[in-house]
Protein backbone atom coordinates (compact mmCIF):
# COMPACT_ATOMS: atom_id res chain seq x y z
CA UNK A 1 0.00 0.00 0.00
CA UNK A 2 1.46 3.32 -1.05
CA UNK A 3 1.80 5.84 1.81
CA UNK A 4 -0.40 8.87 1.28
CA UNK A 5 0.80 12.25 0.11
CA UNK A 6 1.22 13.50 3.68
CA UNK A 7 4.09 11.10 4.32
CA UNK A 8 7.23 13.16 4.88
CA UNK A 9 9.33 11.13 2.45
CA UNK A 10 7.58 12.64 -0.58
CA UNK A 11 8.64 16.09 0.53
CA UNK A 12 12.19 14.92 1.10
CA UNK A 13 12.41 13.58 -2.45
CA UNK A 14 11.11 16.84 -3.88
CA UNK A 15 13.58 18.81 -1.78
CA UNK A 16 16.48 16.60 -2.86
CA UNK A 17 17.01 15.32 0.69
CA UNK A 18 16.29 11.74 -0.31
CA UNK A 19 17.48 10.14 -3.52
CA UNK A 20 15.92 7.25 -5.40
CA UNK A 21 18.24 4.89 -7.23
CA UNK A 22 16.41 3.56 -10.25
CA UNK A 23 16.92 2.66 -13.86
CA UNK A 24 13.40 3.86 -14.66
CA UNK A 25 13.95 6.84 -16.95
CA UNK A 26 10.55 8.36 -16.26
CA UNK A 27 11.09 8.32 -12.51
CA UNK A 28 14.49 9.95 -12.95
CA UNK A 29 13.12 12.63 -15.28
CA UNK A 30 10.22 13.29 -12.94
CA UNK A 31 12.33 13.66 -9.82
CA UNK A 32 14.78 15.92 -11.63
CA UNK A 33 11.90 18.03 -12.92
CA UNK A 34 10.38 18.33 -9.45
CA UNK A 35 13.69 19.22 -7.84
CA UNK A 36 14.33 21.88 -10.48
CA UNK A 37 10.91 23.38 -9.88
CA UNK A 38 11.43 23.30 -6.13
CA UNK A 39 14.80 24.98 -6.58
CA UNK A 40 13.08 27.87 -8.33
CA UNK A 41 10.16 28.17 -5.92
CA UNK A 42 10.46 26.82 -2.39
CA UNK A 43 7.08 28.11 -1.27
CA UNK A 44 4.86 25.64 0.64
CA UNK A 45 2.21 25.97 -2.05
CA UNK A 46 4.61 24.91 -4.78
CA UNK A 47 6.08 22.17 -2.66
CA UNK A 48 2.62 20.75 -2.01
CA UNK A 49 1.87 20.84 -5.72
CA UNK A 50 5.08 19.00 -6.52
CA UNK A 51 4.42 16.40 -3.80
CA UNK A 52 0.95 15.87 -5.21
CA UNK A 53 2.39 15.28 -8.67
CA UNK A 54 4.98 12.83 -7.36
CA UNK A 55 2.41 10.96 -5.30
CA UNK A 56 -0.02 10.88 -8.21
CA UNK A 57 2.68 9.39 -10.46
CA UNK A 58 3.57 6.68 -7.96
CA UNK A 59 -0.11 5.90 -7.40
CA UNK A 60 -0.70 5.56 -11.12
CA UNK A 61 2.30 3.33 -11.73
CA UNK A 62 2.42 1.63 -8.33
CA UNK A 63 2.29 -1.86 -9.80
CA UNK A 64 5.43 -1.33 -11.90
CA UNK A 65 7.36 0.66 -9.29
CA UNK A 66 7.49 -1.94 -6.55
CA UNK A 67 11.27 -1.86 -6.18
CA UNK A 68 11.37 1.94 -6.09
CA UNK A 69 8.59 2.07 -3.49
CA UNK A 70 10.31 -0.57 -1.37
CA UNK A 71 13.53 1.43 -1.58
CA UNK A 72 11.80 4.62 -0.51
CA UNK A 73 9.74 3.29 2.37
CA UNK A 74 11.50 0.20 3.75
Amino acid sequence: MLPDANHQVWGKIVAGEKSVQTGNATVNLLIKSLKMSYGLDRSPANQNQLIAKLHSFFSRYESTLASEIAQIFL
Binding site: A25, N28, L29, K32, K35, F57, T64
Partner: protein, 333 residues
Protein backbone atom coordinates in the same frame (compact mmCIF):
# COMPACT_ATOMS: atom_id res chain seq x y z
CA UNK B 1 14.02 -12.10 -29.78
CA UNK B 2 10.27 -12.02 -30.21
CA UNK B 3 8.33 -8.83 -29.69
CA UNK B 4 5.90 -9.02 -26.82
CA UNK B 5 2.85 -7.47 -28.43
CA UNK B 6 3.69 -5.29 -31.40
CA UNK B 7 4.64 -6.36 -34.87
CA UNK B 8 7.12 -4.01 -36.45
CA UNK B 9 9.36 -4.34 -39.47
CA UNK B 10 10.58 -2.74 -42.66
CA UNK B 11 8.11 -3.55 -45.41
CA UNK B 12 7.43 -2.88 -49.06
CA UNK B 13 4.92 -0.19 -49.96
CA UNK B 14 2.32 -2.73 -51.23
CA UNK B 15 2.60 -4.66 -47.97
CA UNK B 16 1.91 -1.54 -45.93
CA UNK B 17 -0.91 -0.52 -48.27
CA UNK B 18 -2.51 -3.89 -47.60
CA UNK B 19 -2.17 -3.52 -43.83
CA UNK B 20 -3.78 -0.08 -43.90
CA UNK B 21 -6.60 -1.39 -46.09
CA UNK B 22 -7.10 -4.23 -43.61
CA UNK B 23 -7.86 -1.61 -40.97
CA UNK B 24 -4.72 -1.95 -38.90
CA UNK B 25 -3.59 0.98 -36.78
CA UNK B 26 -0.01 1.80 -37.68
CA UNK B 27 2.89 4.09 -36.88
CA UNK B 28 4.92 4.49 -40.06
CA UNK B 29 8.33 5.81 -41.04
CA UNK B 30 9.49 6.25 -44.60
CA UNK B 31 10.51 8.65 -47.31
CA UNK B 32 8.03 11.28 -48.42
CA UNK B 33 7.58 9.48 -51.74
CA UNK B 34 6.88 6.20 -49.97
CA UNK B 35 4.41 7.63 -47.45
CA UNK B 36 2.59 9.58 -50.18
CA UNK B 37 1.71 6.29 -51.85
CA UNK B 38 -0.23 5.05 -48.85
CA UNK B 39 -4.04 5.19 -48.63
CA UNK B 40 -5.89 6.99 -45.89
CA UNK B 41 -6.44 4.99 -42.77
CA UNK B 42 -5.60 4.62 -39.12
CA UNK B 43 -2.01 5.70 -39.25
CA UNK B 44 0.47 8.43 -38.53
CA UNK B 45 3.89 8.72 -40.06
CA UNK B 46 7.06 10.69 -40.42
CA UNK B 47 9.77 11.04 -43.00
CA UNK B 48 13.07 9.21 -42.80
CA UNK B 49 14.98 6.99 -45.18
CA UNK B 50 17.12 5.38 -42.52
CA UNK B 51 16.23 2.27 -40.58
CA UNK B 52 17.52 -0.30 -38.13
CA UNK B 53 16.54 -3.77 -39.32
CA UNK B 54 17.30 -7.35 -38.41
CA UNK B 55 19.96 -7.23 -41.12
CA UNK B 56 21.54 -4.02 -39.82
CA UNK B 57 21.33 -0.34 -40.73
CA UNK B 58 19.52 0.29 -44.03
CA UNK B 59 18.98 3.36 -46.23
CA UNK B 60 15.89 3.02 -48.44
CA UNK B 61 13.35 5.30 -50.10
CA UNK B 62 11.04 2.53 -51.28
CA UNK B 63 10.35 0.86 -47.94
CA UNK B 64 8.30 1.79 -44.91
CA UNK B 65 8.95 0.79 -41.34
CA UNK B 66 5.60 -0.17 -39.88
CA UNK B 67 4.80 -0.54 -36.20
CA UNK B 68 1.40 -2.06 -35.65
CA UNK B 69 -0.63 -0.96 -32.67
CA UNK B 70 -1.79 -4.14 -30.91
CA UNK B 71 -5.38 -5.25 -31.14
CA UNK B 72 -5.90 -4.95 -27.39
CA UNK B 73 -5.63 -1.16 -27.72
CA UNK B 74 -9.01 0.30 -26.85
CA UNK B 75 -8.96 3.45 -28.91
CA UNK B 76 -6.52 5.25 -31.20
CA UNK B 77 -7.03 8.92 -31.98
CA UNK B 78 -5.01 10.98 -34.45
CA UNK B 79 -4.48 14.66 -33.57
CA UNK B 80 -2.44 17.35 -35.32
CA UNK B 81 -0.51 19.71 -33.04
CA UNK B 82 0.57 23.20 -33.95
CA UNK B 83 1.70 26.07 -31.79
CA UNK B 84 -1.90 26.76 -30.74
CA UNK B 85 -2.66 23.39 -29.17
CA UNK B 86 0.73 21.80 -28.49
CA UNK B 87 0.46 22.51 -24.78
CA UNK B 88 -2.48 20.08 -24.65
CA UNK B 89 -0.42 17.17 -25.96
CA UNK B 90 -0.09 15.37 -22.65
CA UNK B 91 -3.48 16.29 -21.25
CA UNK B 92 -5.12 15.02 -24.47
CA UNK B 93 -3.52 11.64 -23.88
CA UNK B 94 -5.72 8.85 -22.53
CA UNK B 95 -5.68 8.19 -18.81
CA UNK B 96 -3.79 4.97 -19.45
CA UNK B 97 -2.09 4.68 -22.79
CA UNK B 98 0.78 5.55 -25.03
CA UNK B 99 1.09 8.48 -27.39
CA UNK B 100 3.18 8.22 -30.55
CA UNK B 101 4.41 11.63 -31.69
CA UNK B 102 6.12 12.77 -34.89
CA UNK B 103 7.46 16.31 -35.25
CA UNK B 104 9.15 17.60 -38.42
CA UNK B 105 12.73 18.82 -37.94
CA UNK B 106 13.62 22.49 -38.03
CA UNK B 107 10.13 23.74 -37.23
CA UNK B 108 8.78 26.16 -34.65
CA UNK B 109 6.62 23.43 -33.23
CA UNK B 110 9.72 21.32 -32.58
CA UNK B 111 11.50 24.22 -30.92
CA UNK B 112 8.47 24.89 -28.74
CA UNK B 113 8.11 21.24 -27.81
CA UNK B 114 11.80 20.93 -26.99
CA UNK B 115 11.89 23.99 -24.79
CA UNK B 116 8.46 23.94 -23.20
CA UNK B 117 7.27 20.33 -22.96
CA UNK B 118 8.44 19.99 -19.34
CA UNK B 119 6.08 22.81 -18.40
CA UNK B 120 3.03 21.36 -20.15
CA UNK B 121 0.21 19.98 -18.05
CA UNK B 122 0.50 16.19 -17.74
CA UNK B 123 4.19 16.01 -18.69
CA UNK B 124 5.65 12.66 -17.56
CA UNK B 125 2.24 11.51 -16.33
CA UNK B 126 1.27 10.25 -19.79
CA UNK B 127 4.00 8.47 -21.76
CA UNK B 128 4.85 10.01 -25.13
CA UNK B 129 7.25 8.29 -27.49
CA UNK B 130 8.25 9.25 -31.00
CA UNK B 131 10.69 10.99 -33.19
CA UNK B 132 11.69 14.00 -35.22
CA UNK B 133 11.22 13.43 -38.94
CA UNK B 134 13.88 14.44 -41.44
CA UNK B 135 15.23 13.85 -44.91
CA UNK B 136 18.24 12.14 -46.42
CA UNK B 137 21.38 14.01 -45.57
CA UNK B 138 22.11 14.66 -49.26
CA UNK B 139 18.64 16.24 -49.66
CA UNK B 140 18.76 18.67 -46.77
CA UNK B 141 17.70 22.05 -48.15
CA UNK B 142 15.95 20.50 -51.16
CA UNK B 143 13.25 18.56 -49.40
CA UNK B 144 11.29 19.30 -46.24
CA UNK B 145 10.77 16.89 -43.38
CA UNK B 146 7.13 16.04 -42.78
CA UNK B 147 4.67 14.35 -40.51
CA UNK B 148 1.75 12.49 -42.07
CA UNK B 149 -1.79 12.32 -40.76
CA UNK B 150 -3.00 9.14 -42.42
CA UNK B 151 -6.54 9.70 -41.23
CA UNK B 152 -6.98 12.94 -43.20
CA UNK B 153 -4.23 12.50 -45.78
CA UNK B 154 -2.51 15.69 -44.61
CA UNK B 155 1.21 16.13 -45.11
CA UNK B 156 2.33 18.37 -42.25
CA UNK B 157 5.48 20.43 -42.65
CA UNK B 158 4.95 22.77 -39.71
CA UNK B 159 2.81 20.70 -37.38
CA UNK B 160 3.27 17.57 -35.37
CA UNK B 161 0.99 14.58 -35.45
CA UNK B 162 0.13 12.33 -32.54
CA UNK B 163 -1.55 8.98 -32.24
CA UNK B 164 -3.08 8.72 -28.79
CA UNK B 165 -3.59 5.04 -27.99
CA UNK B 166 -5.69 4.02 -25.00
CA UNK B 167 -4.64 0.80 -23.28
CA UNK B 168 -6.70 -1.54 -21.12
CA UNK B 169 -6.15 -1.42 -17.36
CA UNK B 170 -3.95 -4.52 -17.42
CA UNK B 171 -1.37 -2.94 -19.74
CA UNK B 172 1.02 -0.05 -19.20
CA UNK B 173 3.60 1.57 -21.43
CA UNK B 174 7.16 1.95 -20.18
CA UNK B 175 9.81 4.08 -21.85
CA UNK B 176 13.55 3.50 -21.80
CA UNK B 177 16.26 5.97 -22.69
CA UNK B 178 19.36 4.15 -23.89
CA UNK B 179 22.58 6.03 -24.46
CA UNK B 180 25.97 4.66 -25.34
CA UNK B 181 27.51 7.82 -23.91
CA UNK B 182 28.66 8.47 -20.39
CA UNK B 183 29.19 11.89 -18.93
CA UNK B 184 32.47 10.71 -17.53
CA UNK B 185 34.54 12.59 -15.01
CA UNK B 186 35.05 15.74 -17.02
CA UNK B 187 34.25 19.33 -16.17
CA UNK B 188 30.72 20.12 -15.00
CA UNK B 189 28.96 22.66 -17.21
CA UNK B 190 25.94 24.70 -16.14
CA UNK B 191 23.79 26.97 -18.27
CA UNK B 192 21.94 30.00 -16.99
CA UNK B 193 19.43 30.10 -19.84
CA UNK B 194 17.55 27.38 -21.67
CA UNK B 195 17.78 27.14 -25.42
CA UNK B 196 19.32 25.75 -28.57
CA UNK B 197 22.18 28.25 -28.55
CA UNK B 198 24.84 28.30 -25.87
CA UNK B 199 27.21 31.17 -25.33
CA UNK B 200 27.89 31.84 -21.69
CA UNK B 201 28.00 29.08 -19.15
CA UNK B 202 29.70 28.12 -15.93
CA UNK B 203 32.35 25.43 -16.00
CA UNK B 204 33.17 23.99 -12.61
CA UNK B 205 31.49 27.05 -11.16
CA UNK B 206 33.49 29.63 -13.12
CA UNK B 207 32.09 31.83 -15.89
CA UNK B 208 33.14 30.61 -19.33
CA UNK B 209 32.26 30.59 -23.01
CA UNK B 210 31.28 27.15 -24.29
CA UNK B 211 32.63 27.67 -27.82
CA UNK B 212 35.99 28.86 -26.53
CA UNK B 213 36.09 25.92 -24.12
CA UNK B 214 35.38 23.39 -26.88
CA UNK B 215 38.05 24.87 -29.15
CA UNK B 216 40.66 25.23 -26.43
CA UNK B 217 40.13 21.69 -25.17
CA UNK B 218 39.93 20.18 -28.65
CA UNK B 219 36.67 18.48 -27.73
CA UNK B 220 35.30 16.16 -30.41
CA UNK B 221 31.82 17.50 -31.08
CA UNK B 222 30.48 14.29 -32.59
CA UNK B 223 30.01 13.28 -28.97
CA UNK B 224 27.20 15.03 -27.08
CA UNK B 225 26.85 16.94 -23.90
CA UNK B 226 25.30 14.57 -21.36
CA UNK B 227 22.80 16.05 -18.94
CA UNK B 228 22.41 14.23 -15.63
CA UNK B 229 18.73 13.86 -14.78
CA UNK B 230 19.07 12.01 -11.48
CA UNK B 231 21.16 9.35 -13.17
CA UNK B 232 19.24 9.30 -16.43
CA UNK B 233 21.45 10.58 -19.27
CA UNK B 234 19.84 13.18 -21.54
CA UNK B 235 22.11 13.91 -24.48
CA UNK B 236 22.36 17.24 -26.26
CA UNK B 237 24.18 17.08 -29.60
CA UNK B 238 26.43 19.78 -30.94
CA UNK B 239 25.33 21.21 -34.30
CA UNK B 240 27.96 23.89 -34.82
CA UNK B 241 30.71 25.71 -32.99
CA UNK B 242 31.32 29.21 -34.28
CA UNK B 243 34.73 30.55 -33.32
CA UNK B 244 33.88 34.06 -34.56
CA UNK B 245 30.58 34.56 -32.75
CA UNK B 246 31.64 32.34 -29.84
CA UNK B 247 28.26 30.62 -30.08
CA UNK B 248 27.45 26.91 -29.99
CA UNK B 249 24.33 25.70 -31.81
CA UNK B 250 22.67 22.64 -30.35
CA UNK B 251 20.21 20.05 -31.67
CA UNK B 252 18.22 20.18 -28.42
CA UNK B 253 17.96 22.79 -25.72
CA UNK B 254 20.06 22.86 -22.59
CA UNK B 255 18.34 23.75 -19.33
CA UNK B 256 19.42 25.59 -16.20
CA UNK B 257 19.76 23.43 -13.11
CA UNK B 258 21.16 20.42 -14.96
CA UNK B 259 24.75 19.17 -14.65
CA UNK B 260 26.24 18.66 -18.12
CA UNK B 261 29.48 16.97 -19.06
CA UNK B 262 30.91 16.13 -22.46
CA UNK B 263 30.59 12.46 -23.25
CA UNK B 264 33.55 10.18 -23.13
CA UNK B 265 34.51 9.26 -26.72
CA UNK B 266 33.02 6.09 -28.17
CA UNK B 267 35.02 4.62 -31.04
CA UNK B 268 33.03 1.47 -31.89
CA UNK B 269 29.35 2.45 -32.00
CA UNK B 270 27.99 -0.92 -33.11
CA UNK B 271 29.70 -2.77 -30.28
CA UNK B 272 28.70 -0.06 -27.82
CA UNK B 273 25.06 -0.39 -28.85
CA UNK B 274 25.12 -4.15 -28.64
CA UNK B 275 26.55 -3.84 -25.15
CA UNK B 276 23.97 -1.40 -23.82
CA UNK B 277 20.96 -2.90 -25.60
CA UNK B 278 21.61 -6.24 -23.95
CA UNK B 279 21.13 -9.52 -25.75
CA UNK B 280 19.02 -10.83 -22.90
CA UNK B 281 16.36 -8.11 -23.12
CA UNK B 282 13.13 -8.75 -24.94
CA UNK B 283 12.53 -6.86 -28.15
CA UNK B 284 10.79 -3.53 -27.50
CA UNK B 285 7.34 -2.75 -28.85
CA UNK B 286 8.73 0.39 -30.46
CA UNK B 287 12.21 1.80 -30.83
CA UNK B 288 14.03 4.54 -32.68
CA UNK B 289 17.66 5.54 -32.88
CA UNK B 290 19.40 8.76 -33.79
CA UNK B 291 20.72 9.64 -37.24
CA UNK B 292 23.90 11.01 -35.66
CA UNK B 293 24.60 7.61 -34.13
CA UNK B 294 23.93 6.09 -37.56
CA UNK B 295 26.23 8.49 -39.39
CA UNK B 296 29.04 8.91 -36.87
CA UNK B 297 28.96 5.19 -36.10
CA UNK B 298 28.80 4.22 -39.80
CA UNK B 299 25.99 1.84 -38.88
CA UNK B 300 24.77 1.13 -42.43
CA UNK B 301 24.93 -2.64 -42.75
CA UNK B 302 25.83 -3.07 -39.09
CA UNK B 303 23.57 -4.61 -36.48
CA UNK B 304 22.80 -2.76 -33.28
CA UNK B 305 21.67 -5.55 -31.04
CA UNK B 306 18.15 -6.89 -31.45
CA UNK B 307 16.51 -3.50 -31.77
CA UNK B 308 14.77 -2.46 -35.00
CA UNK B 309 12.97 0.76 -35.95
CA UNK B 310 13.40 4.07 -37.72
CA UNK B 311 16.59 6.10 -37.58
CA UNK B 312 15.48 9.58 -36.65
CA UNK B 313 16.48 13.21 -36.37
CA UNK B 314 15.73 13.56 -32.70
CA UNK B 315 14.12 11.06 -30.38
CA UNK B 316 11.20 11.58 -28.05
CA UNK B 317 10.73 9.86 -24.71
CA UNK B 318 8.48 12.34 -22.91
CA UNK B 319 10.80 15.12 -24.13
CA UNK B 320 13.22 15.72 -26.99
CA UNK B 321 16.46 13.73 -26.85
CA UNK B 322 19.54 13.54 -29.07
CA UNK B 323 21.94 10.74 -30.00
CA UNK B 324 19.78 8.33 -28.09
CA UNK B 325 18.04 5.02 -28.59
CA UNK B 326 14.50 5.09 -27.24
CA UNK B 327 12.60 1.90 -26.45
CA UNK B 328 8.97 1.47 -25.51
CA UNK B 329 7.53 -1.64 -23.89
CA UNK B 330 3.92 -2.52 -23.26
CA UNK B 331 3.87 -4.31 -19.93
CA UNK B 332 1.32 -6.52 -18.20
CA UNK B 333 0.31 -5.06 -14.86
Amino acid sequence: MISTYVHSKLQSIPEVQAEISAGKTLVLAGSRDALKQLPRGNWVGGTTSYFMTDEGGVVADDKVFATEVPEFAMEAKVVNYGLGNLSFLYSDAPENGITFLVIPAATKVLKTFAEQAPSFDGFLMHPVVGWVSGVRVDRVGNELPAAFNGKTGEILENKAVALHVALPANKQAELEIVSIFKGGEGDIIHFKDEGFHAVGCHINGKPANLADYIIAKGIRTEFPLVGDYCGCPVNVSIQNVDAETHCVDLFAPVFPGVDYRFAEPVEDYASAFSAVVGADREEPDFACNCILNFLYGKLEGKKTGSVTGPITFGEIAHQLLNQTLVRMYLRDV
